[in-house]
């Protein structure tokens, strides 16, 4: 495939891995923020190509995994209303609330439907005029513009039975919260490619100004990721941290203006609860008041509990590399891949999920 195969070239990957091994002296911890990076690192076996000096930490960038327990409980609550159809992207189904997941309520007969595009959600509303359709708005700045445009389309079409429960989260804000931790043991960040495509490189300028560290925006192919690691290690060894865009084929300085405008016209920043990280100021997106006819929270007068995860969960510290999974009191006792508590276990490639399945056997 064009534009893909060249970024999966084994000779180039080997060359980059060699360069990393050659220049890396100081032990470093690099966080890949984005869930898609985590998956790519895992699927391509990138860790095996890196020298012992480099530790990769999986960040909070899997949007379904960081959806708070209280938010999922609220979604499950909605699914129990008789005329409601819950419409969602698939990977949300497995993420557990306090007592069950959407998948379970679906197997118990609740109407929870998986869609592959936002238009499908509108089509379901259109086809079921006597039911109320709630689309779960999960995701970062990548999905938020799409869902914003869906809300605008629903308005234009005069759909009266369509609403969105917005649990969107914002990436620069969570990164600022992470970097503010004292005792932070992260030396550099691989910044998400898709999110950056929308918000642009400049969205990270405040982060870089306040916490100057090596930050590299990267694509998702192995060559992209190895290249980002090489750049970060180079900056660390040279003690010259930079904010760098290593994904210029997709990401610009200003980002996608139209998507940003769409997002801003529909959503306003709000505080949000993150599984594993708690409540972070300005890190979420809620539907603006003039569109409240499409806001499920308003329509159903939803009460969303502040519960982020079970008490005792140390995901925040695991995410930051301050603890290993076995050091969390819940690990393996309460929190397992079948009954995950925090985002590190919810995501099968998350630090705890991977540790549980692979490290100990």
């Amino acid at each position: 495939m064009r534009f893909i195969d060249e970024y999966r070239a084994s000779d180039l990957s080997a060359y980059l891995a060699e360069q990393i091994a050659r220049i890396s002296v100081t032990p470093v911890r690099i966080m890949e923020v984005c869930g898609s990076h985590t998956v790519s690192i895992f699927r391509n076996g990138i860790r095996a190509l890196l020298p012992d000096t480099i530790t990769l930490l999986s960040g909070p960038g899997c949007p379904v995994c960081v959806t708070a327990q209280g938010e999922i409980d609220a979604m499950i609550g909605l699914s129990e209303i008789d005329d409601v159809i819950i419409v969602t992207f698939g990977d949300m189904l497995r993420v557990p609330g306090t007592s069950c997941s959407l998948m379970q309520v679906r197997s118990e007969g609740r109407d929870v439907r998986v869609v592959y595009s936002c238009e499908d959600a509108l089509a379901i509303a259109d086809a079921n005029p006597d039911r109320r359709v709630v689309f779960l708005g999960i995701g970062f700045e990548t999905t938020a513009p799409l869902i914003a445009s869906t809300i605008l389309s629903a308005k234009q079409a005069g759909l009266k039975n369509f609403s969105v429960f917005s649990a969107h989260k914002r990436v620069p804000e969570v990164l600022a919260a992470l970097m503010a931790y004292k005792d932070l043991a992260i030396d550099g960040l691989i910044l998400p490619g898709h999110v950056s495509m929308v918000i642009g490189k400049r969205a990270y300028w405040p982060l870089y100004a306040e916490y100057p560290r090596p930050y590299v925006i990267a694509g998702f192919e192995p060559v992209d990721i190895l290249n980002a690691i090489l750049l970060i290690v180079g900056q660390i060894e040279a003690k010259a941290p930079r904010l760098k865009n290593a994904y210029p084929r997709a990401v610009s300085i200003a980002g996608n203006k139209r998507a940003q405008e769409m997002m801003a016209s529909v959503f306003q920043p709000s505080d949000a609860n993150w599984r594993g990280l708690g409540r972070l100021a300005g890190s979420g997106l809620k539907i603006r008041r003039h569109l409240e006819a499409f806001d499920a929270e308003k329509i159903f007068q939803m009460h969303v509990s502040e519960q982020c995860e079970l008490e005792g969960c140390d995901c925040g510290k695991v995410l930051l590399g301050l603890k290993t999974p076995p050091e969390c009191p819940l690990y393996k006792k309460v929190c397992t891949p079948s009954y995950p508590v925090g985002p590190c276990m919810v995501s099968s490639e998350g630090t705890c999920g991977a540790y549980y399945r692979y490290a100990e056997k």
Binding site: M1, G45, F89, D91, Q104, Y116, S117
Partner: protein, 336 residues
């Protein structure tokens, strides 16, 4: 998750299905033949070696590009028998039909079963029908069981992989899983991907006839190649190492997987087999497979190793290494 009820994931063909079978079912019926956990049971009656297998089909949609539930039901049991090294002979057919189901669709399914049986050279010799009220079943469910003869000297089972064996895959993976998914979800894109459903018994017969060395045969259906390899590694208590670059995936299928965030290793196949073959027989077995219409793109994808018993590792295209685990639940498209 609440353990007191059955979840859809128990039927995904992955880890939960494996646990359901090994923890809840096998201990109840406890016997050495069942405990083998192969695709079918092999036993002697009056010194004649028989293979016996059963499979139920609930696929939605019932008609899909490349086949339908009827063809699948015949090929599925034929292949399960073939994976025991057997020559499939007779099949049964049980149908659970939802009231209101179209007679024309039923006839179409029956006809495709007739054709599939003809192709596989088996006969459907007994059967049963039940009709249930609307919504007590989804359109039609089909169960097929089958018996076959195991030729003398053939010793094939999931527990028989040996260190040094070559792992052969008979062709590109993930076509069936992707076909069902995009048709079930009525995804709005043009695609020529179609199910690979096919009877593999003639190919297996030729593989066995070429002169031995075939230790394990398995068709990687639900749970995909990854889960099937893990089952073999567990049953034989060996490690398996595979090479990503050697695993064929059709370009279009691979693009759809890419788009939706699926890993082709976990997508279902209905006309592929994995064989663990003694190294000195591997090339000749591969040649036999490649000569067969359903095995043209076969390749050696890895080998059985002594390290990490019970685990499957993959050398990735870029030279990295990753663990290949069993499927943990029905694959969902990712948004991240």
């Amino acid at each position: 998750m609440n353990d007191s009820v059955i979840h859809l994931d128990h039927g995904s063909g992955g880890r939960l299905s494996y646990q359901l079978i090994t923890r809840h079912i096998v201990p109840v019926f406890d016997n050495p033949i069942l405990k083998q956990l192969d695709d079918g049971a092999v036993f002697d009656i009056d010194r004649i070696r028989l293979a016996f297998s059963t499979d139920s089909f609930t696929v939605d949609p019932i008609f899909f590009p490349g086949g339908d539930i009827g063809e699948l039901a015949v090929n599925g049991t034929v292949n399960d028998l073939a994976m025991c090294g057997a020559v499939p002979k007779y099949l049964s057919c049980g149908m659970i039909i939802e009231a209101g189901f179209s007679m024309a669709d039923l006839n179409r399914i029956l006809d495709s079963m007739r054709l599939a049986a003809k192709k596989a050279d088996v006969q459907i010799v007994t059967g049963d029908t039940k009709v249930v009220p609307k919504r007590a079943a989804d359109k039609v469910f089909i169960n097929t069981s089958g018996v076959g003869l195991v030729p003398p000297g053939v010793e094939i089972g999931g527990h028989l992989a040996r260190v040094g064996d070559k792992v052969i895959l008979s062709g590109p993976i993930a076509d069936h899983g992707i076909t069902i998914l995009i048709n079930r979800e009525k995804m709005d894109f043009e695609s020529a991907v179609k199910s690979d459903t096919a009877p593999l018994n003639h190919m297996v017969y030729a593989m066995i006839q070429q002169g031995g060395g075939v230790h394990v045969l398995r068709d990687p259906t639900r749970g995909g190649l990854a889960t099937a390899l893990n089952e073999i590694a567990l049953q034989s208590q060996v490690g398996i190492g595979i090479y990503e670059a050697n695993i064929p995936v059709n370009t279009e299928t691979s693009s759809i997987c890419e788009l939706l965030g699926f890993d082709p290793l976990y997508m279902a196949n209905e006309g592929k087999l994995i064989a663990c073959v003694a190294p000195d027989h591997a090339d000749s077995v591969l040649e036999v497979i490649q000569k067969h219409a359903f095995g043209i793109d076969a390749s050696i994808i890895g080998e059985v190793v002594a390290d990490h018993p019970g685990r499957v590792f993959m050398k990735t295209r870029i030279g990295g290494t990753r663990i290949v685990d069993m499927l943990t639940g029905e694959p969902f498209p990712r948004i991240c």
